[in-house]
Symmetry: C2
Subunit: 158 residues, 2 copies
């Protein structure tokens, strides 16, 4: 099963390496990971998407708490969370195709960030499946480069 | 000096742990890291923001290339790049403050994703300094939770 795990840690060198090492040793493949500072600059929040069964996850949670820099760990079920990720996509474009591409950008409420003679850079912030739908529709123009942040999530309400 | 390093790697278990370990051993503090799949599902792209001098960075780049799963490493100078990151911010809100919060959301071209009786969840995708400005303006209402993806970047043009 796919899990979205939030890990609140002290913002110190080596913490990311220890957390990633823990997942690696358990054979959990991290599909995506996003880490950045929070409202407190001494504290970072990691959002990890990984595939594994309930028991493995329980073990990892226990081991995460044993790391000295871990403040909190929680698994956010999809139905209780607001989930988003960000992608930048560079698509081949010329005079003929640019308006078709712009139309797709509008449909997905995305945004053009940069235009050059033979490409455009598009920004989209949405749920993962929407990003993948847009990517699929842009593929016929030629995707030159694509970078995604990985998912971040917050609990709804409260 | 602060660097934005893009690392293209094979999407395999343990790669993130090896890359993070390399930075940790050199004493580089990773400020933010975002990793997700690319247009090729077998390939992941990491965007790492880290502080360090030119010589250390050169060493790290060499060592990154020695990792079997590394395909490409490049340092993207700010003036040549389109840079973005995403944040979700849960702010305390009530009948009295909700319209003030909405006004700030509009100024920053952000978006309200979820509303509950005593809070709102806001999504903003922008450059880091814009996100920090909005965060500062929202602080007086009370920030309950904040999560950021870390920066992603693509080269302009081409």
């Amino acid at each position: 099963m796919r899990h979205t795990i939030s890990v609140i840690v002290e913002n110190k060198p080596g913490v990311l390496s220890r957390v990633a090492g823990l997942f690696a040793r358990r054979g959990f493949n991290i599909e995506s990971l996003a880490v950045g500072v929070t409202e407190d600059p001494n504290v970072s929040r990691m959002t990890i998407v990984a595939e594994g069964d309930e028991r493995d996850l329980e073990q990892i949670t226990k081991q995460l708490y044993k790391l000295i820099d871990t403040l909190k760990v929680f698994d956010l079920p999809r139905e209780k969370a607001v989930e988003r990720e960000l992608a930048l996509i560079k698509v081949a474009a010329n005079e003929k195709t640019r308006s078709d591409i712009t139309q797709i950008v509008e449909i997905f409420r995305a945004q053009v960030l940069d235009v050059s003679e033979d490409s455009v850079v598009i920004e989209i912030s949405d749920e993962a499946d929407k990003i993948e739908s847009m990517e699929k529709m842009l593929r016929r123009f030629g995707i030159k480069e694509l970078v995604r942040t990985g998912k971040i999530a917050l609990e709804r309400g409260g």
